[in-house]
């Protein structure tokens, strides 16, 4: 031990001189390691492979379902960087941060590298042919009704092949599950416009009124909407578009809005009907349905129920009346309640009253191959699977592209239900929570190693089929593409029908070549068409335009506001962030490391509390608070945030993994765990925002790790980033 009189300063002095000595003597050639590094040359090199010179391949981003077309830079056989494909109508050469992190999905050190068979608590590596044989054995004597397949959203040829496999098993139990999906809005859109996902033209609108739709961050097709938003902001005929965001917890889109209106959680529909009522009162002709639905929603009632002031309501109505066309969007905040369908219907009705249908809400293109259209995920699917599992209905369970043990609401107790299936097979990239419960884990190729076709749900710019192709050789020899695995499994059942396909690539190729004419390749020979398709990465289809059918909103009635719950007084808003979404990519460190756009917090979860509420409860930033619902409790650091309703707290989704590798496990908490089993009454979807909680201080305090504020943003008087207070600037483009 060093005596205390040899203090830190002296120690540093000596170290400093020692360091200088090392540095000086290191000035020669010593940093160059001649003859130590190995340079590995190619054994055989293709003509186009030049070390140091990149080649580029087009493919499709698999980080979310928006289906952005990407262009990967590959050097020395390694994919280094992804960018958007400029020819894409969806993302037009751009990409989001989530997409950029796709390389970390591919190079992730925690990928499963060989098939694993459960032996007690451990997984033992087995060979693929043994794994296939085991599946065949376990399916032997099991009827189709006893087999369930849970997947995330699938589309294209994989969906067709999966459907054929289930058919060969005689099973109709394909559950398509997405933890965070606009399922309620889809149903409401279907009712209001005759179409689940019409095209929203933000760029054609002069006012966008968004009820909690985070279209710049995480909603439906954010890269596409961001570009539309940029055009909308530049304005049509010199008139800059105005964005008004209505929500209970500020999203990235809300932070960009000209006016952000906080509403009492769940009262989005009330405000929509209130606006309709006020529009009617100001002379806008209302249909009978609209008049009936909005009857009684006068200014006084709306103001008291929603908390939006009369002044703001008047301004909003004047704005919507003055500037047409406008666009009203219903997002996840509006749909996440037991009356989510009614909320969404009221919001869609507002579009009809404003005459936006056909102007800013347009019919989407129709995909000429309906069998390839995406199977859209919902949480209803998980609910029915869970009920079946709990009742012991299913003996064999397959899971692919979903992590229900992590994302199912705690009240569902999915893990226990899953245990009742006798044999569980997980097709997985990582040992996530669901794969850990499986009996057999089959390792998949990453999205940058695999073949595939994908059709996005939101067809931004005409119908198109996206091509997914390998950007590089497999990193791990024992992983397989999902298509290849399905093909091998289906050959167990129908060997003759599929014997012509050596692998999924040949299946894909022959399937696309068969329809060459319809895919726009008529007249060219097979190889030319195929090469052109792989080069562009997109097949644009001359699909017929769909139609919108206006329908009545007869019978629309919002329920009375629920009585306050004395035991659980606060609303819990589980927020969907642009980076982490439902948490399937939480093991990509870039996503953990990029600061949340609103709070700038990294690598951890937080509980957003309104400063007034926090002051009442004596909570300051960094206090560990316990958030308790009927279902469970979690503890996380408090973050004081003025962009939230005082009666609500918000915790971001995506963190709090108990497995899934070194970058996901143990960071933050998982709010899915404490979600109550409340469902939307019409669609049966999980009402994500209906959970009521109480919060209490635990007594610990931590330093919140974030970029913002005194700790992260200290400028030492150097005037690096200058700031003004809000009253010094004109905040709004509103009139």
């Amino acid at each position: 031990m060093i005596d205390s009189s040899f203090d830190r300063r002296d120690f540093l002095k000596v170290m400093g001189w020692g360091g200088a000595a090392v540095a000086l003597s290191g000035c020669g050639n010593t940093s160059i390691e001649d003859g130590k590094e190995t340079v590995v040359s190619y054994v055989e090199a293709a003509d186009y492979v030049i070390p140091g010179v990149s080649v580029y391949y087009n493919s499709t981003c698999a980080q979310c379902d928006a289906g952005c077309n990407i262009n990967g830079r590959v050097r020395e056989g390694r994919v280094l960087k992804l960018e958007g494909n400029a020819a894409s109508g969806i993302n037009r050469g751009k990409m989001c941060g989530l997409g950029q992190a796709g390389v970390q999905h591919h190079y992730n050190p925690d990928r499963v590298r060989e098939p694993l068979l459960r032996n007690g608590d451990r997984g033992e590596a087995i060979a693929w042919d043994k794994a296939y044989a085991l599946i065949a054995e376990k399916l032997n004597g099991v009827s189709g009704d006893e087999v369930a397949f849970l997947s995330g959203g699938v589309s294209g040829h994989l969906k067709v092949l999966l459907g054929n496999y289930l058919e060969s098993l005689g099973s109709k139990n394909h559950f398509v599950y997405e933890a965070v999906s606009p399922a309620v809005v889809r149903a409401a859109n279907k009712k209001a416009y005759g179409n689940e996902m019409p095209r929203f033209s933000i760029n054609k609108a002069k006012v966008v009124l968004s009820f909690g739709a985070d279209f710049l961050g995480s909603w439906v097709s954010p890269v596409h909407f961001s570009q539309q938003y940029a055009q909308f902001r530049k304005g049509v005929n010199g008139q800059r578009g105005v964005l008004v965001q209505v929500e209970s917890k500020m999203t990235l889109t809300g932070a960009n809005a000209d006016r952000w209106l906080v509403v009492r959680p769940g009262t989005e529909g009330v405000l929509a009907l209130g606006i309709i009522n006020a529009l009617g009162a100001s002379g806008v002709a209302l249909s009978g349905d609209a008049a009936a639905a909005s009857q009684g929603y006068d200014k006084a009632r709306v103001t008291s129920e929603t908390g939006v002031s009369a002044e703001h309501l008047d301004k909003l109505v004047a704005l919507l009346k003055e500037r047409t066309p406008s666009l009203v969007l219903a997002g996840s905040a509006a749909e996440g309640y037991a009356h989510g369908s009614q909320n969404a219907a009221a919001i869609n009705l507002l579009n009809q009253v404003l005459g936006n249908v056909g102007k800013t809400i347009e019919a989407p293109a129709v995909l000429p191959f309906p069998q390839m259209a995406p199977a859209k995920g919902s949480s209803l699917a998980l609910k029915s699977l869970n009920e079946g599992l709990a009742a012991g209905k299913y003996k064999v369970l397959f899971t692919y592209g979903a992590n229900p043990v992590f994302t199912a609401p705690g009240s569902m107790k999915f893990k226990d239900s899953m245990g009742k299936a006798a044999f569980k097979v997980a097709f997985a990239h990582y040992l996530d929570e669901t794969a850990l419960q499986a009996d057999l884990v089959l390792p998949l190729d990453s999205a940058l190693e695999d073949w595939g076709t994908q059709v996005p749900e939101y067809l931004a710019d005409g119908a198109q089929i996206n091509i997914q192709q390998p950007l590089m050789e497999k990193l791990h020899p024992e992983t397989r593409g999902m298509g290849d695995v399905l093909l091998a499994l289906i050959k167990q059942r129908q060997a003759d029908a599929y014997k012509g396909f050596e692998d999924y690539y040949s299946y894909l190729r022959s399937a696309l070549l068969q329809n060459k004419g319809a895919l726009g390749g008529g007249g060219s020979d097979d190889d030319t068409f195929w090469d052109a398709t792989l080069t562009s990465g997109i097949i644009k289809l001359a699909g017929a335009a769909g139609t919108l059918s206006a329908s009545s909103a007869a019978g629309l009635k919002l329920p009375e506001a629920a009585a306050a719950d004395a035991q659980f007084p606060m609303h819990l808003i589980p927020s969907v962030t642009a980076n982490l979404r439902d948490g399937r990519h939480a093991n990509q460190p870039w996503l953990q490391e990029s600061p949340d756009p609103l709070t700038t917090i990294v690598w951890d979860s937080w509980v957003e509390i309104h400063p007034k509420k926090a002051a009442q409860m004596g909570i300051v930033e960094g206090d560990i608070v316990e958030v308790a619902s009927k279902t469970g409790t979690i503890k996380a650091q408090a973050y004081l945030f003025p962009g939230i309703h005082p009666d609500a707290v918000s915790i971001p989704l995506g963190r709090g993994h108990e497995a899934m590798g070194r970058y996901a496990k143990g960071f933050g908490v998982n709010p899915f765990q404490i979600l109550d089993a409340v469902y939307d009454q019409e669609t049966g979807e999980l009402a994500m925002h209906e959970t009521r909680v109480k919060i209490s201080k635990v007594g610990q305090r931590v330093i919140v790790v974030k970029d913002e504020g005194v700790i992260g943003g200290k400028q030492d008087g150097r005037r690096i980033a200058l700031s003004k207070t809000t009253d010094q600037v004109k905040l709004s483009e509103e009139i």
Binding site: F6, V14, A21, L24, G35, I50, P51
Partner: protein, 235 residues
């Protein structure tokens, strides 16, 4: 007691620093003179002299491996250098392409070894002899364009500026310091950037210092200095 201990530490540090500094100061930094790197043992002792060496005029069949070479152009094997920033190592395929047709040496130990790698489809684990720190970006392509394609200098001369007289070597050995000072010793010289009559050499649109040198009224050669921005190499 502790004071003395501290002082001795302090002085020792000083001494070491000063000593190493003095040793360093003696090294010539701006020079083109040779600075031999370590002798590196390669998995196969590749005879550069036999491939690139000059023919022996007294041996028309060129059969004595110790007395004459094949005069193969460096770029025949090191084909990436003119197309990329990095020179790369020739793919094994390249060696085999010729050697599968040269029966006379097929049973020589080095060739037998070579074919072992080829049959196993394994890359030869060559050791790197010319290494630059990761923060330096040297561009082979640009140097070859300038010296060989624009100024028509012989390949071996141009490559030799940095790699030494490889045609005399067995396995390559670093023979220049490859330090920044050594790079600058060439780049500080005045380069001709226009030929006779003021025409830019090779019609290149780029000029050192990012500006076209003033025209020489006499119509003679115009010279300019090398890159003068850090990021040319440190990017």
């Amino acid at each position: 007691m502790h004071r003395i201990l501290r002082l001795s530490f302090f002085l020792m540090g000083l001494l070491v620093a000063a000593g190493s500094h003095a040793a360093d100061a003696q090294k010539p930094t701006l020079t083109t003179e040779d600075s031999l790197g370590p002798q590196v043992t390669q998995p196969i002792e590749f005879p550069h002299y036999r491939h690139a060496g000059l023919r022996n005029p007294n041996d028309p069949t060129n059969s004595d491996p110790n007395k004459g070479g094949m005069e193969i152009d460096c770029q025949y094997c090191h084909t990436y250098a003119r197309r990329s920033a990095v020179a790369g190592i020739p793919p094994l395929q390249k060696c085999i392409g010729c050697h599968q047709n040269i029966e006379s040496v097929r049973q020589k130990p080095r060739i037998v070894e070579l074919f072992k790698y080829w049959d196993a489809k394994k890359a030869v684990p060559w050791k790197k002899v010319h290494d630059l720190p990761d923060f330096v970006r040297f561009n082979h392509e640009r140097h070859i364009k300038r010296f060989i394609e624009q100024q028509n200098r012989p390949t071996q001369e141009a490559c030799g500026y940095c790699h030494g007289d490889v045609k005399e070597m067995t396995v390559a050995r670093r023979s220049k310091p490859l330090t920044m000072g050594w790079c600058a010793s060439c780049h500080q010289k005045e380069h001709p950037v226009t030929g006779e009559g003021g025409a830019p050499i090779g019609n290149q649109a780029y000029w050192y210092k990012f500006q076209k040198p003033a025209a020489d009224k006499s119509g003679g050669e115009i010279k300019a200095q090398g890159p003068n921005d850090c990021w040319h190499c440190h990017k």
